[in-house]
């Protein structure tokens, strides 16, 4: 690839050199270009960026506060004053959806970070050291995989919600105040992380195992690079692409689960709005006030759609042979 620098500068005098004149690009630049050509993925990315902006700016751009009750305007259909109508307490649906984006996105991002913090090191250690360490970790993961994940999440969330509410010692009190600040989402973050790190650590383990056999790792050892540097500088960066792709696909699963838990009444604490809770309310009032479900269901589906399309786009961009 480095030959291309010379080739491009002398290509006029040496036309045959143009065969090797592909500009030098890294895997990431290459992937970026392919992603940019995928219209569905780019549109999804724009949608997600807009959603993040709305979630961040919600207090300034939402037309009403999310908990402003107006008993003179209960379950109104969409109107110029309330673009998406109002709910059974006269609260503006559009404003609540905007604040609800904060819940869904923080669930996806915070939970994802916790998942990676647990899953990546365990996968790395398991694959890198092998032997009994690997056997022990893999058997433990096998057993944890047998847990019905949704039930496990429900049990853990119930436990954490109750514990955080009744905690009296200083550690619990401080955790409980963080929980209050996040609208009761901590239980969901932890429960999601406890279930999903398994998948990530398996993925990382597989990647590291295949990388370990590659020549450039052997070469790194041969020139005397220490263990931790091999892991951090040579192995970890090469596992990043599959991890990012997996995380993108895990985000819609996390959002769906939060919505499902809120649907069951195990999610955020009212009056903090969550899309799942709004959907549950919409389903209860579906016959009389269909606009409630229509608004919340559409926003949720569009968001999931965007993350799935972006995940597809990233996978195709990093591994063009996967799509053929």
């Amino acid at each position: 690839m480095s030959i291309s620098i010379h080739a491009s500068s002398t290509s006029e005098s040496l036309p045959q050199a143009s065969f090797t004149a592909a500009p030098s690009r890294s895997l990431w630049q290459d992937a970026g270009r392919r992603l940019w050509r995928n219209k569905a993925a780019v549109a999804s990315l724009c949608f997600i960026v807009a959603l993040v902006a709305i979630a961040l700016l919600a207090p300034w751009i939402a037309p009403y506060p999310y908990d402003k009750v107006d008993f003179d305007a209960i379950t109104e259909p969409p109107s110029p004053a309330h673009w998406l109508g109002t709910d059974s307490l006269g609260r503006d649906v559009l404003s609540r959806l905007m604040y609800g984006a904060r819940v869904s996105l923080s669930v996806s991002i915070v939970a994802q970070i916790v998942i990676l913090l647990i899953g990546v090191p365990i996968g790395l250690i398991s694959a890198y050291y092998g032997g009994w360490v690997d056997t022990l970790i893999q058997r433990a993961i096998d057993i944890l995989y047998a847990f019905p994940s949704l039930l496990f999440i429900i049990v853990v969330v119930t436990y954490l919600k109750a514990v955080l509410k009744s905690g009296t010692d200083p550690v619990m009190m401080s955790l409980s105040s963080i929980n209050q600040a996040t609208g009761g989402l901590m239980g969901i973050f932890i429960a999601l992380a406890l279930v999903f790190w398994l998948t990530v650590s398996r993925l990382v383990r597989g990647q590291v195992l295949s990388l370990k056999a590659k020549e450039f790792i052997e070469a790194a050892y041969a020139v005397g690079v220490p263990n931790h540097r091999v892991i951090l500088r040579h192995i970890l960066p090469n596992t990043l692409a599959p991890i990012i792709i997996a995380a993108t696909f895990a985000i819609p699963i996390a959002i769906t689960l939060e919505a499902g838990l809120s649907f069951l009444g195990l999610g955020v604490v009212p009056p903090v709005p969550s899309w799942g809770m709004m959907i549950a309310e919409g389903i209860t009032n579906i016959r009389s006030y269909p606009h409630l479900l229509l608004a919340s269901g559409t926003v949720l589906s569009l968001t999931l759609l965007a993350f799935n399309f972006l995940g597809d786009g990233l996978r195709d961009a990093f591994d063009p042979s996967a799509r053929l």
Binding site: I143, F147, P148, I279, N308
Partner: protein
């Protein structure tokens, strides 16, 4: 192979024991108890009598061993909130409903998913492919309780073609809405796997050979492409089935199907310990059995795979 199966079945025992232990501990660590009442709390002496009746006054370790030995003797105990009902009776009367619903949904998901994936793969990068792919992403992206609600609005309320809910066995039109709602997600997943797997198989040399020797197109697809292309699909299908059966309570609650999922959700809120343990063990057993079946099926589908 036999040794592998025997070892895997033996491994189920410690796995179930761990599932039981974790659920038991979490359950008892959760603040609140089965006799909490919000509006009219039970008198203290009533709570004490109830605790004594169900053995909840014993130390936790004693409770654990009693619970465990009862389960090993096939006795899952009585529900606290449904007075006088055995957990095993609840499971026997309501689980078959969830199982039937899940099985039909899985069958629909398999047939439509493989069909859709095949159409996509054979018409690669055409309008039909994009349409089918778009449809599968939409299917993955819509929660099943939303699908169920939308179907009820359209087909039951506005058009009046189907009943809004209930259960009358497999051969009734009450099945249609819950089955579609449950099947859509797994169908989309299966379609995606089928598509990429068949596309991959079609690149192989033996397909070109089969073409070259003049094999009929449909013969080639069914006997050569699909047969090998379905191996990865078998893996997801097994796991998807376990997910459909264990996760059906959203759809069950929207469409008023009397399945086991409802009991699990209410038992958690009501701290109905025996029902929580019973349903969790049941669902864990399903997940583990499906994983085992997938691994066994692999050997038959792909002779290159061998277990030691």
């Amino acid at each position: 192979m036999t040794a592998f199966i025997v070892r895997r079945i033996l491994l189920l025992v410690p796995s179930m024991l761990i599932v039981f232990t974790i659920t038991f501990l979490l359950m008892h660590a959760t603040p609140g108890g089965p006799w909490d009442r919000n509006e009219r709390p039970l008198p203290q002496n009533v709570i004490e009598t109830l605790n004594a009746k169900y053995g909840l006054d014993e130390p936790l370790s004693t409770q654990y061993w009693i619970f465990l030995s009862d389960i090993l003797h096939g006795d899952f105990g009585q529900s606290y909130s449904h007075y006088g009902q055995d957990v095993s009776t609840i499971i026997i009367s309501f689980f078959p409903v969830s199982l039937q619903l899940g099985s039909v949904a899985m069958l629909v998901a398999l047939l439509l998913g493989i069909g859709l994936g095949l159409v996509s793969a054979l018409n690669h990068n055409t309008f039909a492919d994009y349409l089918a792919s778009f449809f599968s992403v939409v299917g993955v992206s819509t929660p099943n309780y939303v699908v169920a609600t939308i179907l009820i609005i359209v087909f039951s309320i506005y058009l009046g073609w189907l009943p809004t809910g209930g259960w009358d066995g497999v051969l009734s039109n009450k099945m249609i809405i819950p089955v579609i709602a449950l099947a859509l997600g797994p169908m989309a997943l299966i379609a995606r796997y089928t598509r990429s797997s068949v596309l991959d198989v079609l690149q192989h040399d033996y397909i070109r050979t089969a073409h070259a020797k003049g094999l009929k197109e449909h013969n080639l697809i069914i006997r050569h492409a699909l047969r090998n292309g379905l191996i990865p699909v078998a893996t997801v299908a097994g796991i998807a089935f376990a997910e459909i059966v264990t996760g059906s309570f959203f759809v069950e609650s929207v469409t008023a199907v009397p399945g086991i999922g409802r009991y699990f959700v209410t038992s958690i809120a009501g701290r109905d310990y025996p029902v929580i343990i019973g349903t969790t063990l049941l669902f864990a057993a399903i997940v583990m059995l499906m994983n085992l079946l997938v691994d066994i099926a692999y050997v038959y589908l792909d002779p290159r795979v061998q277990y030691k």
